[in-house]
Symmetry: C2
Subunit: 158 residues, 2 copies
DNA sequence: TACGATCGTCAACGTGGTTGACCAAATAGT
DNA sequence: ACTATTTGGTCAACCACGTTGACGATCGTA
C-alpha cells in the first residue's frame, strides 16, 4: 500500500493535463488567427475535424461528437454562417442534408494539422522526442480508446 | 529539421491530454456521486477549491478563476443553493460579502482530495510511479506556471 | 466633506447544451 | 399497394456559463 507523496498531490495531475491541453489549443488558435482564421473557436476545429473531407449529416455528426442532433445542427449553423461548412441536399434521400466543408473549411483544417505538428515538434524539442511519445503512450494506456466526446462546455459546466 | 512521424500526428496530443483530464474528472465525480455528492459538477469542484477553507469574496474569486466577478457571483449563487457555500457579511466592510465553504463543502473538498490521490495512485500502478511523475514534470515544463483559468465552458465554446 | 475606487447585483445578451414535439421522407410489413 | 414505423431536420422552450454595461452602497483618501 503506497502512501501519497505530499509533494505530488493527486489533484495536480488533472490540472496539468488541462493546462497542457489548453496551452496547445490556445497556441493553435493564436497561430490560426495570425493566418487569417480569426473567427475559429476551439470547439469549431473539432467539429470541422469531425465533419472531415467526406462530409456527414447533422445527426451523424451529433453521434460522433457525443451531443444531440439539435446541438450539432446549431453548431453547423454557426460554421455555415462563418463560411467553414455548407449544407447540400442529398439527391438520394430528401430527408438528409449533407454537411460538407467549404474551401475555407478545408484550409482551416489543413493549417490546423500543420500547426499541431509544429506544436508537437516544439514539445519534442523541449522535452525530447521520447518523452512526448511516452506521454502519448501513457495517456493512451489510461484512457478509453477511440474516445471522442466533444460536449466539453456542457460536460464541464453542466 | 525533424520531419513529422506520420504515426504520431500532432493533433493526437491535445486529444489525449483532454481524454486524460476528462477520465480523471469523470472518475472523480462518479466516486463523489457514490459518496453522496451527486449534484457536484466538474466546474464546482474547482470553484470550491478556489474558495478554499479561508473563504473569499466574489470579486477575488473571479480574479482567481480568470472570470468576471458577475460570473463568479452566479456560480456562487448556485453552490449556495446546493449547500456547498454560504455568504456572510464582512463585519469590517459592509460592501464585501465573504464566501465560505459550508460543512458539506468541506466534506466534498476533502473527499475530492482523497479520490484524486487514489486516481493518481491507480495511474502509478498502471504506468509506474516514475512515468506519472515524468508526465507531471514534462507538463510543467511546457505550460505556464501557476496557471489557473477556469473559464473552460466559455473558453472552449465561445 | 467631497471625490474616486471598490463590491455586489441587475439586466441584456451570446453560445452551447438539453428535451419534447412535429413534419416530411424513406423503409418495413401485411 | 397501402398502412405503419423509423429516421432526419427543425422549431421552441429551457438551463448553465460566460460576457459587458450600469448603478447603488460603502470605504478610503485628498
Amino acid at each position: 500500500m503506497a502512501t501519497t507523496d505530499p509533494e505530488r498531490p493527486g489533484f495536480l495531475l488533472p490540472l496539468l493535463l488541462l493546462a497542457g491541453f489548453r496551452t496547445l489549443i490556445d497556441d493553435l488558435h493564436a497561430e490560426l488567427a495570425r493566418q487569417g482564421h480569426t473567427e475559429l473557436r476551439p470547439l469549431h476545429g473539432f467539429v470541422l475535424q469531425a465533419v472531415g473531407v467526406e462530409g456527414t449529416t447533422a445527426t451523424e455528426l451529433g453521434q460522433r461528437l457525443g451531443i444531440s442532433k439539435q446541438a450539432a445542427g446549431k453548431t453547423v449553423d454557426r460554421l455555415v454562417a462563418l463560411g467553414y461548412l455548407e449544407r447540400v441536399d442529398d439527391p438520394r434521400d430528401a430527408r438528409r442534408k449533407l454537411v460538407r466543408t467549404t474551401a475555407r473549411g478545408r484550409d482551416g483544417l489543413h493549417r490546423s494539422a500543420v500547426v499541431f505538428d509544429q506544436l508537437r515538434q516544439r514539445w519534442a524539442d523541449t522535452l525530447g522526442p521520447d518523452r512526448v511519445a511516452a506521454m502519448e503512450d501513457d495517456l493512451r494506456a489510461v484512457t478509453p480508446a477511440n474516445w471522442f466526446r466533444l460536449d466539453v462546455p456542457g460536460w464541464f459546466g453542466g
